[in-house]
Amino acid sequence: MKLRTVTFSPAISILAVVMAFSLFISSCKTAGGPAGNDIPVGEFASLTGGTATFGQSVHNGDVLAVEEINGAGGVLGKQLRLVTEDDQSKTEDAVASVQKLVNSDRVIAVLGEVASSRSMAGAPICQQAHVPMITPASTNEDVTKKGDYIFRICFIDPFQGQTMARFALNSLGKKRAAILTDVKQDYSVGLDEAFKNTFTFNGGVIVSEQSYSTGDKDFHAPLTSIKGANPEVIFVPGYYTEVSLIVRQARELGIDCPILGGDGWDSPELTKGAEKEFNNTFFSNHFATEDPDTTVQSFIKKYQDKYHAVPDAMAALGYDATRILADAIKRAGSTDSVALKNAIAGTKDFPGVTGRITIDKFRNASKPITIIKVVDGKFHFAQRIGPNGEALTPFQP
């Protein structure tokens, strides 16, 4: 038997060297963390799709904050670099976006999402990779229960639902309510439950409960049922794309009682083409542009200078979330994940545009709520309610 000599062709050996080298590079990346001159911060947002204005506003707020921080010398002597992923308002794409940010872009923290369902889809990935995640605007209670790396800088749904129930009873003096819920959104279901409990506990009656699914266009059927039950007020805790059609169709059917909602209504798209129909509607929100507070007014001015548009609450929350993250990195003195997580958890009385922000032991923010009244398509300040349900200002009808 003759022994065959084995020879490597040059092509194969080059390939082997390249492979070994790439392995070396990727292992370096895993061990070293962010080695460059900048600090990569991930952001996943719905820049397109059904809740596009949420993502775009948050993104604008994030970018404004990052530019401001970098302009003032950055943090720890390095510049922040925002890595943005668009999830197209889809839960599946949110998972893919966060996986890319965490595994391939190696970001030190993740900002996002607005929709609770999508934040909850991304949170387990951040938790597992020990990358702190701050959601600017996801209000569903369960979001921060995903783990000790998940934070939020906004109030939670029970508070929002309770506040709107008390508002309907006390400020508007209505006793018979109907509810129209988006069963596909954790956010909407959470608000629905809180509203229902507080409203009935305080002597109100729920006369009709109807539901729809995200993406529906025809609401005539549930609205006709609601009309038949003859409510004095309707609570619609949905997102603006559907709410815009719901309010329009409700008015078409001759329902003219007040309609209430949550912060999912906050979008410049909400009243487009239906300015008249939106009269006599109210929703809870994170801030009002009419707030005379200097922090708020200077933010509005900076935002207008850059984008030539009035910021909505989502933009303000994005701005706050980014600044809280930068503040935490400074206090932690490094981008090490444990130190950063502890620093975010230690945020106390941070002077945000959306109020003073303190992160509690459940990694939620306790802060006041603002109720907005819609008049001819414009959002006006109606009332401010404190974190314990106390009215901070009288209701301005």
Binding site: T48, G49, G50, A52, Q88, S89, V183, E209, Q210, S211, Y212, S213, G215, K217, D218, H220, A221, P222, T224, S225, K227, G228, T241, S244, L245, R248, E252, L253, G254, E269, K272, G273
Partner: protein, 301 residues
């Protein structure tokens, strides 16, 4: 009378499903395959209507005026007809002698192509459809409201369906269509130009989808590139329910699906709306496998 109001809601939704279902059923009738891209032609119809109303026609007539509305419908129907004929020419004609399954898969491909090209060209952002029909209540009592949009949706659908019936039953090309659907080979031996008939079928079916798209946008003024998927599916179900290949059947099926959906949505079981609609489909097909008005066909082996 809540029942009466729900009935009107259901009929106006069903009328749009019926318009789309007609396209499915006609194409099935002559070609024996399901054109899955039909729902997306409907989406394109909405977008054409959007652009026609907000920019093309808006240069000459104000949005909401009668000539503007008529032009918007005509432009949308014409462009959709052209799109349908193009799809048939480029995607389906080269495969005509191939197995039906190949054409079916191609149809799914065309559907995805239209959806994602739509996202690329129009962006995934929903747009508000312009009010091309000024919405005023016609009947307005405490219990019942009928407005102009609903009336136009229902009556225009009816007119288009009657027009279609006239074309199919009374014209030469309609007779040819029926001949082709009976037996393609025999029809071609009788001197009927099969390709011409098929192209004509796509033109008519797609024009109806275009009109459906504009009506849908008017009634539910928020349009996006993936809006055709669900109504397309429902209309397909409607076509099967009524007996695929049967034109009055498609209209009846659309009406039934619209009514069932509306009545279920108005109750506590609204979450199961689609499940119940599809359960009814299954139940009907168990007892009448060829649909409500469909004729039993014996497959020749």
């Amino acid at each position: 009378m809540q029942f009466l109001q729900q009935l009107i809601n259901g009929v106006s939704l069903g009328a749009i499903y019926a318009l789309i279902a007609l396209g499915y059923t006609m194409i099935y009738g002559v070609l024996r395959f399901i054109n899955f891209a039909h729902g997306d032609v409907f989406m394109v119809g909405s977008y054409v209507g959007y652009f026609a109303a907000t920019s093309w026609v808006a240069h000459f007539f104000p949005v909401g005026s009668l000539p503007s509305t008529i032009l918007v419908f005509l432009i949308s129907m014409a462009l959709c007809a052209a799109l349908g004929a193009t799809i048939e020419f480029l995607a389906y004609r080269p495969l005509r002698s191939r197995p039906k399954l190949t054409v079916l898969i191609t149809a799914i491909g065309v559907s995805l192509f239209l959806e994602y090209t739509g996202q690329l060209v129009f962006s995934a952002n929903p747009r508000g459809f312009p009010a091309i029909i000024s919405n005023r209540p016609i009947i307005h009592t405490a219990s019942i409201t009928i407005d102009t949009v609903e009336l136009v949706v229902i009556s225009l659908s009816l007119v288009l369906m009657l027009l279609l019936r006239l074309i199919v039953m009374r014209t030469k090309i309609g007779t040819a269509m029926r001949a082709v659907s009976f037996n393609q080979q025999a029809a071609s031996l009788m001197g009927i130009n099969i390709s011409k008939v098929i192209t004509f079928t796509f033109i008519i079916g797609s024009a109806l989808a275009g009109a459906g798209g504009v009506l849908y946008g008017t009634e539910y003024p928020s349009i996006e590139p993936l809006m055709g998927i669900l109504p397309g599916l429902k209309a397909f179900v409607a076509a099967v329910l009524g007996g695929i290949g049967n034109i009055p059947g498609a209209a009846l099926g659309g009406l039934i699906i619209g009514l069932v959906e509306t009545f279920v949505s108005g109750t506590a079981a609204s979450t199961y709306r689609d499940a119940i609609a599809f359960a009814i489909l299954i139940a009907i097909l168990v007892f009448r496998p060829s649909g409500l008005l469909g004729k039993r066909e014996i497959e020749k082996v």
